[in-house]
């Protein structure tokens, strides 16, 4: 069944059709939202909100962009709103940012796969939200530079410059850890190149 057929069925009240749409795009939305906010209840909540928003505005979906792109756009916007709320809350209650470089160090020394993922996600969350969004869309989700520009509604040149700046910062954060853990093979490659 195509997305269009499912949307039509869901619009006329078929809940199973909408459930199928959620199953199809859950991973895409999860990658965006968790990439932006990190794993946890907040990301889950925003993920649910993405589909609820879509459910409410389904009749207005004209299919100009693919459903995946449309949902990613909603996910990015809701994640950015959530980051803003989080910042306001921190300012209001004088909360300190929980993630520090030492957290990353302890993760890097403790394990391999899941921890590596956490290191990457924490490093991404250290970036400004506008840089986070280009990294998540381009490097995590694999959208092209043009698609990333379309989703974020910014020029391609801006995507490229944000990507460059974000990568420079991520390199500073990640190279020490990935040089010490599963990046060893890569480091050997680097050493052999040099």
């Amino acid at each position: 069944m195509t997305d269009e057929t499912l949307i039509q069925a869901a619009s006329s009240g078929d809940d199973n059709a909408f459930k199928e749409l959620i199953r199809r795009y859950e991973q895409k939305v999860a990658a965006t939202v968790i990439g932006m906010l990190g794993p946890g209840p907040e990301a889950e909540d925003v993920g649910q909100e993405v589909f609820i928003r879509f459910y409410r505005t389904m009749n207005r979906f004209r299919g100009e962009a693919s459903l995946g792109t449309y949902l990613t756009r909603i996910a990015i916007n809701l994640s950015l709103n959530s980051i803003k709320r989080r910042k306001r809350k921190r300012l209001l209650f004088w909360e300190k940012s929980v993630e520090t470089i030492t957290d990353l160090a302890s993760l890097a020394s403790s394990g391999f796969d899941e921890d590596d993922r956490e290191i990457v996600q924490k490093a991404i969350r250290k970036l400004d939200p506008v840089f986070q969004s280009v990294i998540v869309l381009r490097l995590m989700e694999g959208y092209s530079t043009r698609e990333t520009a379309e989703i974020l509604n910014i020029p391609e040149g801006t995507v490229l410059s944000r990507l460059a700046r974000a990568q420079k910062k991520l390199k500073k954060i990640l190279i020490p850890y990935f040089g010490a853990s599963h990046g060893r093979e890569n480091v050997r490659v680097v050493a052999s190149v040099v």
Binding site: D15, F18, K19, I22, R23, E26, Q27, A30, A31, I34, G35, P39, A43, E44, G47, Q48, F51, I52, Y55, D116, R117, I119, V120, Q121, I124, I135, R138, L139, M140, E141, G142, T145, E156, V159, L160, L163, A164, Q167, K168, L170, K171, L174, I175, F178, G183, N186, V187, V189, V190, V193, V194
Partner: protein
């Protein structure tokens, strides 16, 4: 390391370079160890980010979303009769208020005898002097 070359290197991962730029970058990579190291480090970072994506929420995500949608629909349905009864109760009040406003407007219009709309809708402006030191014509009489 040349900053311009570094930018060209970063851009080469995400955009098509022009043939001239590509030649320039290839030449620089051939002679610069630092630039090659930079290229490898960027690859490591990009690979790590690519692998760092989490592609799932907790199990039964779709069911939880549907539950939230259904509960919001139900609460809307529950609120709907409430608002309808509220409207029914206040409808006579709204009609009475409308009639009263219309009477007041027409009364003002008649009294001011073709005055401006401001005069019809509101009381004429009263200056501070008039408010604190009113002239009572009947005293003189």
């Amino acid at each position: 390391m040349d900053e311009k070359m570094c930018e060209l290197l970063l851009r080469s991962f995400d955009a098509n370079l022009t043939p001239d730029e590509q030649i320039l970058l290839d030449e620089a990579l051939a002679i610069s160890d630092t630039l090659r190291l930079e290229q490898e480090q960027i690859k490591i970072v990009r690979d790590a980010i690519g692998q760092g994506a989490s592609h799932s929420f907790r199990p039964f995500f779709a069911e939880r979303v549907m539950q939230r949608i259904q509960s919001s629909v139900k609460s809307y349905e529950r609120l709907d009769p409430f608002f309808e009864s509220l409207m029914a109760a206040f409808r006579p009040v709204m009609i009475a208020a409308g009639v009263l406003i219309a009477i007041m407007l027409s009364y003002n219009a008649v009294r001011h005898d073709g005055a401006l709309m401001a005069g019809v809708l509101t009381e004429p402006d009263v200056s501070l002097e008039e408010a604190f030191d009113p002239v009572y014509d009947w005293i003189q009489e």
